[in-house]
Structures are given as structure tokens and as C-alpha cells.
């Protein structure tokens, strides 16, 4: 512990006031980062974050913390790279050790198609100023020595993309760092406050109705991840989102054995080793819609069989815990950020399986959008209109299993 004593509490626990300039619905990573940047970048401090449970107990507590910016399309590369650049200075900015570790992210290729897709993505990344390298199988093995690339496996590794600046961070610290920062700047973080409805007159939102009463608001900004559709429906909106379980698991604690993040879209698994020592593994979503925060066991069985193919060294490792979060998936696997048909009601959702890495960037552009009333340039392509114009940003290749 540094010379500065750690306080007993990182933020106040205020009662809600009757009215705020900005009410943010959802106290996950995105809501907290948005509140922080509203105060820090725009001087807007008459802000409340309303959280139905406890701060960062949703997907923020459940994700596997993979951070990278090697998305295919220009629009995505721009917003995720902006986020990665913020990560690189975030521990200092928040004065909180986020345990951000740029240990490198490998995306494996197992077929000729994967190889072509991977090389194409490396080229696209480089053109967008995102660091990316193509490794052949031997180079991938040299980078990650316990990876089985040999010809005897069912899914031999033919090569991999590598983003060296990618890595992991400690999710709780990220939430707590933003929460402490926002609180210190005057933002009210209100836990145990569920938004149950909206007061909308003349096409404009005037207030939110909550389990703690009515709270008037100039702007209401949704940051409710998997529950966005439920909230939007209460405002009379239908969004192109489906909520699915996404599962993950951890092993018992091990000595340091895995030095990087390894992901494979084709065999459906990804794995890293957390600072504490557990292996953290995940896969793709369960196919059906759900709000049940649990998934089906066969998804775990399949990801484990894939993991053992790639890492035979893990075959005696025990699984300690499995869980699921509810992720909001959009038709093009890209987020939806911006205004809605209801004046004063903004949405930031659809980050699906991959929004942890975007926490700083998402909060940054959303705060700017709220403050200025027009979309931040990096958020503009991600507006709801794209489903009508057809200007989709299809990131299924970069975002399906890899998060």
C-alpha cells in the first residue's frame, strides 16, 4: 500500500435528490465512466447514476477483461483504439492501480479461411494505426510456449494475429476507480435504485420513476447493458437488441503458466491467466434469449474440450466456478450509441460480448454526446439510424467468440 492511506469507503452513499441535469441508468462500467467524464471533461456534475443492485455487479463483475482494439472496420478500429489509448493512461488518471497488463492477445487461425481472414484483419488494423502482426505457427508457439500447434491435434494452429498492446485489467478496480473519481467530482452514485418507468410528455423525457421515487432529469442516459430492451420498452421504444447469456469460468489458482491472452473463434474458446493465478476462460453466447444469468452446461463442455486441444498441459486443472452474465447483442455485433426518438433519452447499448475493453472509450464518447447534444464523431456511425440506412458495421468476425 502506498503512503496514501486507503479510505474506508471509496464513495458516499447519498439519498437521491428530486432532480438532476443528467440521470444515468445503470452503474456498470459504462455508466460510471460516463459519469466520470461528464464531470471531468465537461464540468457537468449535477449527475446521478442509478443502479438497481450494487455498483458494478452486472456484466462489469462477470466479464473476462480481455482488452484489444484489433477490429476490422474503420469505425470500430477508431472507437476501440481510442479506448485502448485511454487504458494506457488510466491508472494514472484515476490514481488507482487497474492492473492493466499489455501482455498481448493472440487470435488463432485453424484453417485456410481463418488465415486469410486474420491476415486481412492485420492489414486493415495497420492501415488504421492499430498495432497488429501476423505470426506463423512457429512464431505463435514461440510467443506462447504452452500452445499446442502440432499436426496431431484436431484443430492445428496455422498462424495467429497478435496485438501486443492488448491484454487484461482488474475489472473491479476499473469500476471502483471510476466510481471514486466521479463521486469526488460531485456525482451521486445511488445504489438499490431501480428505474421502473419514464415520465414522457410532448415527446420529451422529464423524469425517471424509480423504486426510490420520481427523479426529474434534463437528460436520461441509458447504460443498462443486457437490460436495455426492458427499459426501452418502458419508454415505448423497440431496439434491435437481443439479450443472451454469456458464460465464463475460472480454474483453481496456478503458478504463472500462460503469458498472454489466446482466443480462437473457430474452436470457440479463449483463455488468459489472471494476476491471482486462475485461468479465466470463456466462449460464445448461449443461442437463446435469456435474463436468467445462467447458461447451458454443454457450452462449457465444448469450450473445455477446445481448450484442452490447444493446451494439453491444462488437462488436470480443475474448474472452480462458472457463471453467466446477460449481454445485449445487436444485429451487426456493434454498439448502439446516441439519441432515440424520445427527446432527452439517450442510449448506449449493444456492446454485447465485448464492452469491457470499451469502458473508457464508451464513457468518453457518451459523456460528450450527452454534454453537447450531438453524437461524438467517434460515436456517430453507431447511431440507431444505421439499421434503417443499412450502413451496418458488421464485426461478427472480430467479435463473435473473441470478446
Amino acid at each position: 500500500m502506498s503512503a496514501r492511506a486507503h479510505p474506508d469507503f471509496l464513495w458516499r452513499n447519498p439519498d437521491p435528490r428530486p432532480s438532476y441535469d443528467v440521470v444515468i441508468v445503470g452503474g456498470g462500467g459504462h455508466g460510471l465512466a460516463t459519469a466520470y467524464y461528464l464531470a471531468e471533461n465537461h464540468g457537468i456534475t449535477d449527475v446521478a447514476v442509478l443502479e438497481k443492485g450494487w455498483l458494478a455487479g452486472g456484466n462489469m463483475a462477470r466479464n473476462t477483461t480481455v482488452i484489444r482494439s484489433n477490429y476490422l472496420w474503420d469505425e470500430s478500429a477508431a472507437i476501440y483504439e481510442h479506448s485502448l489509448k485511454l487504458w494506457e493512461g488510466l491508472s494514472a488518471e484515476l490514481d488507482y492501480d487497474l492492473m492493466f497488463s499489455q501482455r498481448g492477445v493472440l487470435n488463432l487461425a485453424h484453417s485456410l479461411h481463418d488465415v486469410r481472414e486474420g491476415r486481412r484483419r492485420v492489414n486493415a488494423n495497420v492501415l488504421n494505426g492499430v498495432d497488429a502482426e501476423w505470426l506463423d505457427a512457429d512464431e505463435a508457439r514461440a510467443f506462447c510456449p504452452i500452445l499446442e500447434v502440432g499436426g496431431h491435434t484436431r484443430h492445428p494452429v496455422l498462424g495467429a494475429t497478435l496485438q501486443r498492446r492488448g491484454g487484461i485489467a482488474k475489472h473491479d478496480h476499473v469500476a471502483w476507480g471510476y466510481a471514486r473519481g466521479a463521486d469526488a467530482l460531485g456525482v451521486d452514485l445511488i445504489q438499490g435504485c431501480e428505474v421502473t418507468g419514464f415520465e414522457i410528455t410532448g415527446g420529451r423525457v422529464r423524469a425517471v420513476l424509480t423504486s426510490l421515487g420520481r427523479i426529474a432529469a434534463g437528460t436520461v442516459a441509458l447504460a443498462a447493458a443486457g437490460h436495455t430492451s426492458v427499459l426501452a420498452a418502458r419508454a415505448g421504444l423497440r431496439l434491435p437488441l437481443q439479450s443472451h447469456p454469456l458464460q465464463a469460468l475460472v480454474s483453481e489458482l496456478l503458478e504463472p503458466v500462460l503469458n498472454c491472452v489466446v482466443m480462437s473463434n473457430a474452436v470457440h474458446v479463449y483463455v488468459s491467466q489472471a494476476h491471482k493465478g486462475e485461468l479465466v476462460m470463456g466462449a460464445g453466447i448461449d443461442p437463446y434469449t435469456s435474463y436468467g444469468q445462467r447458461g447451458s452446461f454443454h457450452v462449457i463442455e465444448e469450450q473445455m474440450s477446445a481448450a484442452l486441444e490447444l493446451f494439453p498441459i491444462f488437462k488436470r486443472v480443475r474448474v472452480v466456478r462458472t457463471w453467466a452474465g446477460i449481454v445485449d447483442v445487436s444485429p451487426d455485433a456493434s454498439p448502439i450509441i446516441g439519441t432515440t426518438p424520445v427527446d432527452g433519452l439517450l442510449v448506449n447499448a449493444g456492446w454485447g460480448t465485448g464492452g469491457f475493453k470499451a469502458t473508457p472509450g464508451s464513457g468518453w464518447v457518451y459523456a460528450d454526446t450527452i454534454a453537447s447534444g450531438r453524437p461524438h464523431p467517434l460515436a456517430e456511425p453507431f447511431g440507431l439510424e444505421r439499421f434503417t440506412t443499412g450502413a451496418l458495421i458488421d464485426e461478427h468476425g472480430a467479435a463473435a467468440v473473441a470478446h
Binding site: 437490460h227 430492451s229 426492458v230 420498452a233 423497440r238 431496439l239 434491435p240 437488441l241 437481443q242 439479450s243 443461442p287 437463446y288 434469449t289 435469456s290 435474463y291 436468467g292 447451458s296 452446461f297 454443454h298 444485429p331 439499421f387 434503417t388 440506412t389 443499412g390
Partner: protein, 91 residues
């Protein structure tokens, strides 16, 4: 793991099925007459309720029948869809 009742084969393990999303999304009667907003509605907008949901499943590794059920998206309880065919009706 869910146990899903195929109207032809009876209750089977979830891994035999593929999910088909919201039921009752009919192809537009007069596609050429649709505005861009209406197309967006047909192609992209789906209900996403917390509660009972009317949805399609496909018995892909079985008899390959498409059918609908009502499923609760919190409890995962599956109820019969009265509109879905019954075994007797397959003839």
C-alpha cells in the same frame, strides 16, 4: 441444459436443436411498398422481453421440424404453443 419438447419426437436435449428467434415474424405481404423504416422493423427489430417469449426452435439433429414454443426468459420454463402442430397432425 434445457429439455425441449419437439412436437414429433417428444422431449429431447437442447443440443439437438437450433434456436430460431422470435416467432410470428411474417414476410411482408407487399414488400415493394415498405418504407426503409418498415424494412428495418421487419429485418432487425425483435421483442426482447423479460418474461414469456413466443419463439421458434428447429430440431436440426432430429426430425428437422420447425416449431414454436412459449418460453420464460428468466426461469427458462417451456410451455406448449397452442398454434404449433401436434404429433397426430403429422399424418
Amino acid at each position: 441444459m434445457q429439455l425441449i419438447e419437439c412436437p414429433w419426437c417428444g422431449p429431447r436435449d437442447e443440443i439437438e436443436f437450433r434456436y430460431g428467434g422470435q416467432a410470428g415474424i411474417a414476410y411482408p405481404k407487399d414488400p415493394a411498398a415498405l418504407s426503409d423504416e418498415e424494412w428495418a422493423g421487419y429485418v432487425f427489430m425483435r421483442d426482447n422481453p423479460r418474461g414469456w417469449f413466443h419463439e421458434r426452435w428447429f430440431h436440426v439433429h432430429g426430425c428437422r421440424t420447425w416449431f414454436s414454443v412459449r418460453r420464460h426468459t428468466v426461469t427458462h420454463e417451456i410451455g406448449r404453443d397452442p398454434g404449433s402442430p401436434r404429433r397426430e397432425e403429422f399424418g
